[in-house]
Symmetry: C2
Subunit: 342 residues, 2 copies
């Protein structure tokens, strides 16, 4: 009973043709002020709501953008559960989209085919990729003309799309530098999964750089690599750190989640942070300020990341951007209680 009101009803009510109503609604052509007024009145009177589906079909523009997330075990659960980072990016995306009249569709990425089909089936105006996907997927997507923005991607193929990151290398540098300044010489590096994560690789480069500046050579023994960014994984890495005894006095973990897991493991084995080990994380999740001890970390503005990504995508969709964007958001070190002088 709500859905019933069509452009035709409005036209009839205003005593004009459907075309005219459409003109007014789209701000197109020169419609006389008087008819325009009549139409607008009718729209208000009837509480007319344009049917986006029809518009979408007619204009080939859906005003919807797709947000692709990596799937773990065929579900988003792990990703959301273990790293609330993602949901925070999404809130930024949602905010900008809503303000610009776009809706967001969220889906886990299946194979490249599904992904392509999703776009055509749903008439998506643009796509946002959050996280790392297979190179294959990026290649496949290239055959589409839909604007795509990649978040946190450094892969070779990523160059063909708009890119948003934070300054991961600087983050790694700052974290390590901070530990060095506190007098630590043997600093562990715990990555989510180094071999396969360009983000962590960048942070690793920063780590190396800081060490080099301090004339410390990288000790492969102190490089730990897990499987994912989960507390559980962090906990396991923490146990590995413990196994090395006093071979190291500090750890830089590439995510807060990892750092928190490490702290837990150290703690349970009778070690004190920061007395026995100094720990630095990355992200600055809200929880990191409320852990015991509170976590020293590299802050990135995750909401902002979502905002900028969505803004870039929408600009691309609306043709307001010509070249490929390549945006680096700043990071900063936040000193709290998980680090102290050696």
């Amino acid at each position: 009973m709500n859905q019933k009101i069509t452009i035709r009803d409005v036209a009839k009510y205003a005593g004009v043709s459907p075309a005219t109503v459409s003109y007014v609604l789209n701000g197109v052509k020169k419609v006389s002020d008087e008819t325009k007024y009549r139409v607008l009145e009718a729209v208000k009177e009837l509480n007319y709501q344009p049917n986006f589906t029809a518009i979408s079909l007619s204009k080939r523009k859906s005003n919807m953008i797709g947000v692709m997330l990596p799937l773990v075990d065929d579900s988003l659960a792990t990703i959301f559960k273990e790293n609330h980072y993602y949901s925070e990016v999404i809130s930024g995306i949602e905010y900008v989209s809503r303000k610009n009249g776009y809706d967001i569709l969220i889906s886990g990425a299946g194979n490249p085919e599904d992904c392509k089909n999703w776009i055509t089936k749903r008439n998506l105006d643009g796509l946002l990729f959050l996280g790392t996907f297979s190179e294959n997927l990026y290649k496949e997507m290239k055959t589409l003309s839909t604007p795509i923005v990649l978040i946190d991607t450094y892969e070779e193929y990523a160059k063909h799309y708009h890119n948003i990151h934070v300054d991961d290398e600087l983050g790694g540098y700052l974290a390590t530098k901070h530990l060095l300044q506190l007098g630590h010489r043997s600093i562990g590096f715990v990555a989510h999964r180094l071999t396969n994560s360009p983000v962590d690789t960048k942070r690793f480069i920063g780590y190396n750089k800081a060490l080099a500046e301090a004339n410390i050579s990288v000790n492969q023994e102190l490089i730990f690599e897990g499987h994912d960014s989960s507390f559980e994984n962090g906990y396991r890495m923490g146990e590995k750190v413990l196994a090395l005894g006093d071979k190291l006095t500090a750890v830089f973990a590439t995510s807060d989640i990892l750092a928190l897991g490490i702290m837990k493991a150290l703690n349970e084995h009778g070690k004190q942070v920061p007395h026995d080990y100094s720990i630095v994380g990355f992200d600055d999740l809200t929880i990191s300020n409320y852990s015991t001890p509170s976590l020293t970390t590299v802050r990135q503005d995750v909401f902002k990341k979502g905002v900028v990504s969505a803004e870039t995508l929408i600009q691309a969709i609306e043709g307001k951007i010509q070249t490929l964007a390549r945006i680096h958001l700043p990071v900063e070190i936040v000193k709290r209680d998980s680090t102290s002088k050696r």
Copy 2:
């Protein structure tokens, strides 16, 4: 160049009419096996992707469901940032939806009008409400015939819709009972916001019940009420707890986030959990297992909640459900290190 392939192309390729293709694709009417085969071949050959927009317009069914979340400061950021609970529900919703051929649209709830318009504009097949909204909104939505599932709602008006909760009252009871069994007699109750949160009210009833069974009368002084479910709020409540000195020895908080904030405050003021205070939370977020000390809490299966909600909604959409669903998911107490004998 992908979008180009329409049902007409397929029809031509298979040497049949568009209608026949449609029949085959929709499994409708009796099409001879032979033509069916030819059509399917053509579909495969051409990699035909049905245009959902067109289907949506024609069938008045979008295969999209809307997920409404409460807005704080006009953004979802707070809600996602402070309570990763929501994203976990969403993963459950996403999983079921994807498996059933539905896409999910996520949006913050503005006013009731916007919400109604969203449905009609986007042709949404159903709506999922996560959290508490104004009574007004529920009333407004009643004028629509779109199926709606409410999650975590106990409001009077909620009765007109499908409802999914966990057994909040039992959860409150179990938490309190656990503390009583440990010998605590003065147990604080910290709510997110009692007056306005039916969920917390239920948990409060459980708390009262357990106390009554132990012949302990409720002490109003021990009831704390905040503004939201944030670490920050928990921290403030923790300070209030501290101010009461030894008037209480244990606290039941209605969310893990709150509990974690409380622990932080206690900790920073030199108190030991569980030695000085026993703390019980609610939710069993992943972080709760990795905090120091790990948190005793009432577990609810949040992913499952999302799954059941989406299943219910989809069944309602597809007419496979006649009466209003009213589902209570189980809870259980998970004993960890934040509680100990008095």
